[in-house]
């Protein structure tokens, strides 16, 4: 499967990743403060999770900008080597983004699940098997660009994890019934939708556009929550 990205959207996606990462760094900063008070691992996982997620977004944002510049230059004068270089760098940064994001999401799971719970062990086992299957399968597949072929597996795995995190936040909202818990619940749902729409980005360029609007809205919702608390 391929990804359709509207040409007019080039650069906007990078800007959206950058804004999301800045908000992510802010959330991470507050969870670092919370962790310094509580010394609880659950808070540390959220602090590190948001930090890694934000670093992943920054990496992706910078690489996308670089790739688009190279791509635009290629319309006038471009040697194949330059294209290859750009896309090798893209491979590297996409793998960084995939790896950092998945690691961040696994840290989120650790925040919401007790390590002794049966569900935690089942979850980790299923994901380990899933990743092994993907790696084994894709090593035999030379049809795609490397990062391209991992794209859908990454978004599927992320979607499953984020649905679980969203579900945990729905339970939290049902218990607290506060506007802040509602905003956090919505933000995790929007990040889940981001991964869901990415899975269908082969249908239309609008899927890619809406996916990015969704992730930006998710992080802005988190920012609104922080501003509400801080005022």
């Amino acid at each position: 499967m391929h990804i359709i990205i509207p040409v007019w959207f080039y650069g906007f996606d990078s800007a959206m990743y950058l804004v999301s990462s800045l908000i992510g760094f802010l959330v991470s900063f507050y969870f670092n403060k919370i962790y310094s008070i509580s010394s609880e691992k659950k808070h540390m996982y959220l602090y590190l999770g948001f930090l890694l997620l934000s670093i992943g977004f920054v990496t992706l944002s910078i690489t996308n900008i670089f790739s688009y510049i190279v791509f635009n230059n290629c319309h006038t004068s471009c040697e194949l080597g330059l294209m290859d270089d750009a896309f090798s760098l893209e491979d590297f940064s996409y793998f960084m983004y995939f790896g950092l994001s998945l690691f961040a999401y696994v840290l989120f799971i650790n925040s919401y699940l007790s390590k002794n719970s049966k569900f935690h062990k089942i979850f980790i086992t299923i994901f380990s098997v899933y990743f092994l299957v993907i790696i084994s399968f894709l090593s035999l597949n030379d049809d795609y660009k490397l990062w391209y072929s991992y794209h859908e597996y990454f978004h599927l795995a992320s979607l499953i994890i984020m649905i679980f995190i969203s579900f945990k936040n729905v339970l939290n909202y049902n218990e607290k019934r506060s506007l802040n818990s509602f905003l956090v619940m919505i933000s995790f749902m929007l990040i889940s939708i981001f991964h869901l729409l990415h899975l269908f980005s082969f249908i239309s360029g609008w899927m890619y556009v809406f996916a990015h609007i969704s992730v930006l809205s998710g992080f802005i919702t988190l920012l609104i929550m922080l501003l509400r608390v801080k005022k």
Partner: protein, 92 residues
Amino acid sequence: MNSRRSKTKIYIDILRSVQRERGKLKKTHIVYKANLTHSRLEGYLDFLLSKDLLIEEKNKKEIFYTITEKGLRFLGEANKLKEISEAFGIPL
């Protein structure tokens, strides 16, 4: 109350106990309101006094501990962090 509270969490519990009693409390009352032993409380009180988060006031034969402006600000910050943490469903 959690038996494995961090130091900072204990400082917050002490300050919160004092604040709830109109900002002024005797040592014996802090002991049970913050769920601490007398010997452990001494060290925590010394720290809070040295950082100007609490002040010691002598009234005839009794000693009271009063929360300062700085202590109230610290507690306010801690409450905001608590709110953020609870919004994520992971209470502080």
